[in-house]
């Protein structure tokens, strides 16, 4: 009985506390930069697509909402021929972002993706690509990777040692 009275008193004291509600459409709630919302494809600092079409995101996706096809540019770099995310399937789990080896696919703090037509929820590459670097401003995959491209040979990447001649005995 006493505990019930005390409960009622504690609840009554809340008459004078402020409501916690954020009145959403008028007042936007704060979303952390790492909030998992709409997925984007970012570009490296040089303005090139980061995605190398490795398919890891599509493989890890638990609802299989990502589809893409690899293609090779004339300079030897890889890129997705098409990249499609079906957002009506996507559960914003962020596993694609974790799997991505080039920081290309990233989730953004934007959740306002309502559509009247389900077909409009399927985003193609031109809808996904942004003109920015996202959360990793300095990262450029082809500058640090050992892969040979038209602009650099093997061993010329940042922090990379020269390739070792395995057939020579010289130090």
């Amino acid at each position: 009985m006493l505990s019930e009275l005390r409960t009622m008193w504690e609840v009554l004291k809340h008459t004078f506390t402020k409501a916690e509600t954020v009145q959403y459409p008028e007042e936007m709630p704060y979303l952390a930069p790492r909030y998992r919302g709409r997925i984007v494809l970012t570009r490296d600092p040089d303005g090139e697509e980061r995605c190398v079409a490795c398919n890891l995101c599509a493989a890890v996706c638990p609802v299989d909402c990502i589809a893409l096809q690899k293609d090779t540019r004339e300079d030897g770099t890889w890129y997705p021929e098409f990249f499609r995310i079906n957002f009506s399937r996507c559960i914003m789990c962020g596993m694609c972002e974790e799997a991505c080896p080039t920081y290309a696919i990233q989730l953004t703090p934007d959740f306002e993706m309502c559509e009247y037509d389900r077909q409009n929820m399927v985003y193609e590459k031109e809808h996904l690509l942004i003109n920015g670097v996202g959360k990793y401003p300095d990262y450029n995959f082809y500058r640090v990777s050992g892969m040979k491209t038209a602009s650099k040979d093997k061993g010329e990447a940042l922090n990379e040692a020269r390739p070792i001649d395995t057939k020579s005995l010289l130090p």
Binding site: E4, T7, V11, H14, T15, T17, A19, E20, T21
Partner: protein, 324 residues
């Protein structure tokens, strides 16, 4: 004029009761919001009052569906019964001196009878739905209301002894100097709890406990028939509040010294408002008890308290009579 007064008042109560119950749905949600640190419905109109109209429109335009497996006649009759019974209960409520529909010498018994009739609505609604959850809800309400009916009646015996009348006007007049909430504190305590159980509101809403019985006795109800149940529940809340004020808090009498500053009707409605707020606070604060806890609270705590109250009140009255 004096013959027309009850007719006008009856119409006012009919319209005012329905409108009051509708506004109460909004008011309760806002008040619960205040106590739970949120806003509640605040979008439509000033302070969200337009929510009432929106809810009404929605309920009115719903398909008036009767399940094919239900007992049609009883299914339709059940929601009407609770509204009619609760509305009838308002006939004996003295709002202010001379401002009541009928002053019968058994007003208190009439009120108890009408609230007892409301149990048929819940019971028949649960039975006619032909649904396990609804049947369990009806079953619970029958057991709950029948047992709490006992203490509800007995808790008022003290009031009747002190005022010497079953007429509600006489009871209010007997409280001119001292309200019965002081001398009949045990009766008040039991009556409040029995009143909540009788109008099956939280924390005693076991007939419709939604996490156990989906919606209890009104599982199969929708649209305006569901709205009738809700209307009955809110009318019951208002009726119980009116009776608590009438029987224990001096009815239309204002508090000492400042009671004459404002009209009696103001004091009555103000006190009813406070009691309704108290009921909403109970809903906001107290969790629902288990069913066996509810029953044992009734028979093992409430019944002894009322019996002690009756014996002590009787003894004190006899002693005072002997002393005088």
């Amino acid at each position: 004029m004096s013959e027309l007064m009850p007719v006008i008042l009856a119409l006012t109560i009919l319209i005012g009761g329905v409108a009051g119950a509708a506004v109460l749905t909004w008011f309760e949600r806002r008040l619960l919001g205040v106590w739970q640190d949120r806003y509640g419905p605040n979008r439509l109109g000033p302070f969200g009052v337009g929510q009432v109209a929106a809810d009404m429109i929605k309920l009115l335009f719903k398909d008036d569906w009767v399940p094919p497996f239900a007992d049609k006649l009883v299914f339709i009759f059940a929601p009407t019964a609770i509204v009619v019974a609760m509305m009838m209960g308002f006939a004996v409520v003295p709002f202010a001196p001379g401002m009541m529909i009928i002053d019968v010498n058994i007003g208190l018994l009439f009120f108890l009878g009408m609230t007892s009739l409301a149990v048929y609505s819940v019971l028949l609604g649960g039975l006619a739905s032909n649904n396990k959850y609804a049947l369990l809800g009806g079953l619970r309400s029958a057991a709950q209301m029948v047992s709490y009916e006992v203490f509800m009646g007995l808790s008022l015996i003290g009031v009747v002894m002190m005022s010497g009348s079953f007429s509600l006007v006489d009871i209010v007049e007997a409280q001119t100097d001292v309200w019965f909430c002081f001398s009949q504190i045990l009766g008040l305590f039991v009556f409040i709890i029995a009143g909540i159980a009788e109008s099956h509101r939280l924390p005693f809403d076991l007939p419709e406990a939604e996490h156990e019985l989906t919606a209890g006795f009104h599982t199969e109800y929708g649209g305006m028939k569901f709205a009738m149940f809700m209307l009955g529940e809110y009318l019951g809340l208002m009726l119980i509040s009116c009776m608590i004020v009438t029987l224990f808090f001096g009815g239309w009498h204002g508090p000492m010294l400042i009671g004459h500053w404002l009209p009696p009707f103001f004091w009555f409605s103000f006190k009813v408002f406070v009691v309704i707020c108290f009921f909403v606070l109970l809903r906001a604060a107290i969790p629902r008890p288990r069913y066996d806890q509810l029953m044992s609270l009734g028979w093992k705590v409430m019944l002894p308290i009322t019996l002690v109250n009756i014996v002590v009140t009787g003894a004190v009255l006899l002693w005072m009579e002997g002393a005088a």
